[in-house]
């Protein structure tokens, strides 16, 4: 990226927590974008295939945005190098996004859980006192709005289905990954410092809003979430502890890049 940019001064105190936040966001979007793209060509019908593939592309775009902020303001390498050359333990994505796509009910539910959180995050971050992040979040917000429209409609369709099997499969998908979904809100190192500086809220605030919004989405669909206080959140991803599924994904994702890391695309 040779685009000249103005680096915004960041207080030393905020640098590491901000790096943690942006890396978590970037890695989440990158890995889920890759997972979603695995449905390309396999979607249930052509229209859904195209819509879901577009959502996957959007996620990649969001990841690029966050990697670019890291590169321009926090001294991280060029986005491609950063995304494609790190070791598994250096990734800070949550474990939810690493899981294989499974059946469509699993992927669709994950899409709902993730984009609902992403929408709330972008809404708050669009008011961040770190202006470059506020600008990026504002840009991403419109795309995530569509993702939520798609997710809500699909999940509502299946949740209200007169086909009991479809409904039961959706409920099972929700129950199965709920702990993983709560893992999206694993506390970040130094998150209170960013909250105090109005750069980004602590994760537990986002978690509360997410639970509220999720109940509102599922209201009237015949689907429900388990009691969040009785489900153990799956943490570890933010600190580099991942499932057995991440390494094979990274291997496949970086296959072409590794052929010639200097290639111009």
């Amino acid at each position: 990226m040779n685009i000249p940019h103005k680096s915004v001064p960041i207080a030393d105190l905020h640098r590491e927590p901000l790096r943690q936040l942006l890396t978590a966001l970037a890695d989440d979007h990158l890995i889920l974008g890759h997972r979603h793209s695995e449905w390309t060509g396999l979607g249930p019908i052509l229209e859904e295939d195209i819509a879901f593939s577009s959502i996957a592309q959007d996620q990649m775009g969001h990841a690029l945005g966050f990697y670019t902020l890291l590169h321009e303001h926090l001294g991280a390498p060029d986005p491609d190098i950063h995304a494609f050359t790190r070791q598994e333990a250096e990734f800070s994505c949550c474990q939810l996004v690493e899981w294989p796509i499974g059946d469509y009910d699993f992927s669709l539910t994950r899409h709902l859980f993730f984009d609902l959180a992403a929408g709330l995050r972008m809404e708050t971050l669009s008011l961040s006192s770190f202006t470059p992040l506020a600008q990026l979040a504002t840009k991403i917000r419109g795309e995530v709005k569509y993702h939520m429209f798609h997710a809500k409609t699909m999940v509502g369709q299946l949740g209200n289905s007169s086909d009991e099997t479809a409904k039961a499969r959706m409920q099972t998908a929700i129950n199965r990954q709920f702990g993983l979904a709560l893992g999206m809100f694993e506390p970040r190192l130094g998150e209170q410092i960013l909250d105090d500086a109005h750069i980004a809220p602590i994760e537990s605030k986002w978690r509360e809003r997410w639970l509220e919004a999720l109940n509102a989405v599922l209201d009237g669909t015949g689907l429900q979430i388990p009691d969040p206080d009785r489900i153990e959140p799956v943490f570890g991803g933010r600190n580099g502890y991942h499932t057995e599924y991440l390494q094979p994904l990274l291997h496949e994702m970086t296959e072409v890049f590794r052929l010639d890391p200097q290639a111009e695309w």
């Binding site: 019908i45 195209i50 819509a51 577009s54 569509y146 409609t153």
Partner: protein
């Protein structure tokens, strides 16, 4: 007759999905009239809209979209095209069929004289 489009994809028929016709503004601006841009298959208007956005709004600029359930669209049969067979002959209905410019010029001429002091 209403428009029922049979899909060649057996999954579409098995799922009981029906067609919706999305429309988008001509000039990509607010207030422009919508014209039909294609067809999507969906069980209802909402999902049809979700699909239409990516089928027909994925490139360039889009100001707005609407979708219409094609079962609610009444269309003529192509066999009834003969109803329009003689229309091209009725040139007196074309705006070009009138020679009004002479009249307009005469009127302007007259008005300009009347208002001259």
């Amino acid at each position: 007759m209403s428009v029922e489009i049979q899909s060649l994809d057996p999954r579409i028929n098995r799922l009981g999905l029906h067609t919706h016709e999305p429309g988008s503004p001509d000039q990509k601006k607010r207030g422009d009239r919508h014209t039909a841009v294609g067809i999507v298959h969906a069980p209802g208007a909402e999902l049809a809209m979700a699909y239409a956005k990516e089928q027909f709004g994925r490139r360039g600029e889009t100001a707005n979209l609407w979708v219409v359930d094609t079962r609610h669209v009444m269309a003529l049969d192509y066999a009834d095209q003969d109803m329009f067979a003689t229309t091209p002959e009725k040139t007196y209905r074309d705006p070009g069929g009138y020679k009004v410019n002479d009249k307009i010029d005469a009127y302007r001429e007259k008005m300009s004289h009347e208002h001259t002091p």
